[in-house]
């Protein structure tokens, strides 16, 4: 957990700049929080967080799930990411991504994620992505 938390310090400057926090890990699962902040607002009329920040939250959580699945630090690249917004995010509340790497081959890993605001049964977004190991 501590070693994986390194990805959320200034070792990964953009995760750190957004304020992402690693809340929990499993064998191939990562739970990451994006605390609400005024600088993340994408719609000043509603106060809703910008989709771009949610994309970064999902990318970071999915990447961590892949690292946990492989069980060691590997240089990774995101190949693709698809995000469906299931309902509008509530302004003022943090967003939590739960990512699971459900299949990994030697080179490619498949990940899915759900983003919620406290109630897992009522998610804000659902995502699916593929990652690739860089050659060592």
């Amino acid at each position: 957990m501590e070693r994986c938390s390194l990805f959320y310090t200034d070792i990964v400057p953009h995760n750190h700049a957004l304020g992402l926090k690693l809340l929990d890990i499993g064998p191939a699962e990562a739970v990451v929080e994006l605390p609400y902040a005024d600088f993340l607002v994408g719609n000043p009329e509603t106060g809703v967080i910008a989709g771009g920040a949610v994309t970064t939250l999902i990318d970071a959580a999915c990447g961590s799930a892949v690292i946990l699945r492989f069980g060691r630090f590997l240089p990774l690249v995101t190949l693709d990411l698809r995000i469906d917004y299931l309902r509008p995010a509530r302004p003022g509340a943090s967003l939590t991504a739960v990512a699971e790497c459900y299949r990994a081959t030697r080179q490619v890993a498949f990940v899915r994620a759900l983003v919620h605001q406290g109630d897992k049964s009522n998610p804000v977004a659902s995502a699916q992505g593929t990652f690739m190991r860089l050659e060592e």
Binding site: V41, P44, G51, G52
Partner: protein
Amino acid sequence: MSDTQSSPTLAELVLQVRKSREYGRLTDAIPYARFMGIGVEHLAGEMLCRMTYTPKLIGNSFLPALHGGTLGALLECSAIFELLLQTETQRVPKVISLTVDFLRSGKAQDTFARAFITRQGRRVANVRVEAWQDDRTRPIASANALFLLAEP
């Protein structure tokens, strides 16, 4: 901007910026665009987005490379600004779904994006976006996004 006058609503601002092309006024009104250094520029007759490089955009310090999320953010912001400035919509469109392909790693430098509205209906718009750095014919990321447009 002067503080003595009440600041315009976003809808008013969008209408003003469509005419004046002072795009900085619109991107300044969106906190996340300001934080990310994403702005709109009119270059050689087309509207582009630029994400100005700063170290806080880095995802991998060893390469170094831009965080994948920042490229997703640039593509999505670019699509939103295209819809706000080129269509009738006066409210920030809501993203329904976004699919991003990461084609090459982003270097520690400014990144550009250009959005194309591929279909615009009354309620939904499809937008395709490409992002590049040195060479426009070698995009580093592309996206297809679906947006829900606010009722006029």
